[in-house]
């Protein structure tokens, strides 16, 4: 019997099944409990929580993009935060233009920070960002083009391993420094903020918040199905082959550098979309998103969840960020130490992450079961 595509992508294994069900469930239940259940009911979910969960969904999509290049292609990117931030800035620019003359200075064309810097006119690279379709295009294109240029240079000269990782760190660090500059034209260290509306809807409205939450859930699930499609295709097989033995792939006549570039760009775009959905929910984008430590954190999420499974990355993003929310409220200075500690623990004791533990336990169970069965068979015979 032919399975439908959706079945193959989202329900082919336990991890995917659980993930699909959980995401669809929260995408429906959370908005209902926020919008339809009265505030004084114990079942009510606050808008704060909706936004927090929405943030996690964006992080999960980001983790997915990291897993695609790290878990499948074998490139440890320590610069994926840059792609996330670029998508976020593209969205931020659109939201800034939506403010119109409601800014502090009331300038109908220029965002406040430009007025403050005494700029006479809008820089050319801000043109068109008041149109959502163009902004949307840029949410894909900005990270995609950066990834293309970076990857083209790096993969063509066959930079691999640690050197490549260091280059990705340098890339995000350089961008951070650039975005910190006031004359770079993206609001300097304050970044872009004070957004009012998205597509004409007030960003402070609960309904808008819930819509953004649902959009993030849809993006995550689509991103998941998309990555899964790649992973299950012959291209995915090749991608893993490149990870395990790149020269073998090359001597079979494949252009390994093109395949790497393709996956790297796709992954950067996914990260960009995650950033674009993140910004209207948190209400700000600033250069700290480019900080090298942010990109390292992403990798830790994926490592903790379990790389090379896709759902492991999603799980890791949720677990670590939940822990972060919890611990930063309780002991903010300690968080990085805790994260570092967990990371060391995971790399030493659970190299396949949380999902690895589950899979191990399951295979141990089935082994036990089959052993019992065979013993029973012996007794019966």
């Amino acid at each position: 019997m032919e399975k439908s595509l959706i079945q193959r992508l989202l329900l082919s294994d336990t991890g995917s099944k659980i993930l699909t069900i959980v995401i669809i469930f929260i995408a429906i239940v959370v908005p209902v409990l926020n919008l339809l259940v009265p505030v004084d009911s114990p079942l009510h979910i606050s808008t704060y929580t909706v936004t927090l969960l929405g943030k996690y969904l964006c992080y999960a999509l980001l983790a997915l993009s990291v897993d695609l290049v790290w878990g499948y292609l074998g490139i440890l990117s320590l610069g994926h935060g840059a792609f996330f931030a670029l998508g976020g800035y593209a969205m931020g620019m659109y939201l800034m233009r939506q403010i119109g003359d409601r800014g502090v200075y009331g300038n109908p064309l220029l965002p406040d920070f430009m007025v403050f810097l005494n700029w006479g006119s809008l820089p050319w690279y801000w043109f068109g960002f008041d149109h959502f379709p163009l902004a949307l295009l840029m949410m894909f294109a900005a990270p995609g083009i950066l990834a293309f240029v970076f990857g083209w240079l790096a993969f063509r000269s066959r930079v691999t391993g640690v050197y490549l990782s260091i280059m990705t760190q340098a890339m995000t660090y350089a961008l951070m420094l650039a975005f910190f500059q006031n004359d770079f034209g993206f609001g300097g260290n304050n970044g872009l903020t004070d957004f009012k509306e998205i597509l004409g809807f007030n960003l402070q409205d609960n309904t808008t918040r819930c819509a953004l939450f649902v959009a993030s859930a849809v993006a995550l699930l689509s991103g998941y199905a998309f990555c899964k499609y790649i992973a299950q295709s012959r291209l995915g097989s090749l991608v893993m082959a490149i990870r395990d033995s790149e020269s073998r792939v090359r001597f079979m006549g494949y252009r390994d550098e093109h395949i790497k570039l393709f996956i790297f760009v796709i992954s950067a775009m996914l990260a960009g979309i995650a950033g674009a959905l993140y910004v209207p929910q948190v209400g700000i984008i600033n250069p700290s998103e480019f900080a090298p430590i942010r990109s390292i954190e992403l990798v830790i999420w994926v490592a903790i969840g379990g790389r090379g499974t896709l759902y492991g990355a999603v799980l890791g993003a949720f677990v670590v960020n939940y822990a972060k929310t919890f611990f930063t409220a309780w002991a903010p200075e300690a968080w990085l130490f805790i994260l570092g500690g967990i990371f060391v623990f995971v790399t030493v004791f659970m190299p396949k992450g949380l999902v690895g533990i589950y899979n191990q336990a399951r295979s141990r169970n089935t082994r036990k079961k089959s052993m019992k069965e065979s013993q029973a068979n012996i007794r019966n015979s």
């Binding site: 079979m252 252009r255 093109h258």
Partner: protein, 248 residues
């Protein structure tokens, strides 16, 4: 030997690494459907010669031609592979986290670009091709096993199987029986001999008994150039060869 019969043609090729001449004015011709053995001590330049043919190393001097007029020095690894030159590495290299079947499937000729791989569906014909490769290398029973679980010898066969599935005109096989039991090497000898009816096969090997069992024509490499060439008998009685290589 006339040039127009040869499929691979190296003329006066030299390459040096940091001043050390690994290949020194090497000339070599391989004919269509020939089975050629290359022997030589460690460091004689055998693997480097394969690196040059497959585009991994660019020669400093000399000509490398495939067929009559394809200049291999101007092509890169993927182009050369697609022209029809396949290679087995000295250290067996298969995709350990893929099944034997998937390993062969990736080797199948055609479909080398990204989009066609993204939307790829295996057809009946291709399935049969993979099955016939499996039969040739005797790994039918291991079809769905992870390549990483195979024994050393089986990995060598799988890699040869991947070459066959790729269907190149020339197979360059670097030390195929290293680490194999006596029986396994005998099977490998049969396999390579049978391949030479449809492909040109160049085998690099240290194991003299193995070479004797398959060789029709043997080339002895020494310090990056050809020391002697001919039948096994001729080689074994060659004074120079006895001096530097076979001599006890």
């Amino acid at each position: 030997m006339e040039k127009n019969e040869s499929i691979l043609y190296l003329n006066n090729v030299s390459v040096s690494f940091d001043g050390f001449k690994a290949i020194n004015e090497l000339s070599l011709y391989i004919d269509k459907n020939e089975l050629r053995c290359i022997i030589g001590a460690n460091g004689a330049g055998k693997t480097t010669m394969m690196d040059i043919i497959t585009g991994k190393t660019k020669p400093d001097e000399g000509e490398v031609y495939f067929g009559d007029h394809i200049d291999l020095t101007k092509k890169d690894e993927a182009e050369i592979a697609n022209l029809g030159i396949g290679r087995k590495f000295q250290k067996p290299t298969v995709f350990e986290n893929h099944s034997v079947f998937e390993n062969l499937q990736l080797a199948l000729e055609g479909h080398r670009n990204i989009l066609s791989n993204l939307f790829y569906e295996l057809n009946e014909d291709q399935r049969n091709k993979i099955d016939s490769s499996l039969e040739t290398i005797g790994l039918e029973a291991e079809k769905y096993r992870m390549a990483g679980e195979l024994s050393h010898g089986q990995k060598q066969w799988l890699e040869i199987g991947m070459l066959i599935t790729q269907n190149p005109q020339v197979l360059l096989v670097d030390e195929p029986v290293a680490g194999m039991t006596h029986q396994e090497s005998e099977r490998t000898a049969e396999l390579l001999t049978s391949l030479a009816t449809r492909h040109s096969v160049v085998v690099v090997e240290h194991d003299m008994e193995f070479v004797r069992s398959i060789a029709r024509r043997v080339t002895v490499l020494h310090q990056g150039s050809v020391l002697a060439e001919g039948t096994m008998d001729k080689i074994q009685n060659d004074r120079k060869v006895i001096e530097v290589y076979l001599g006890d």
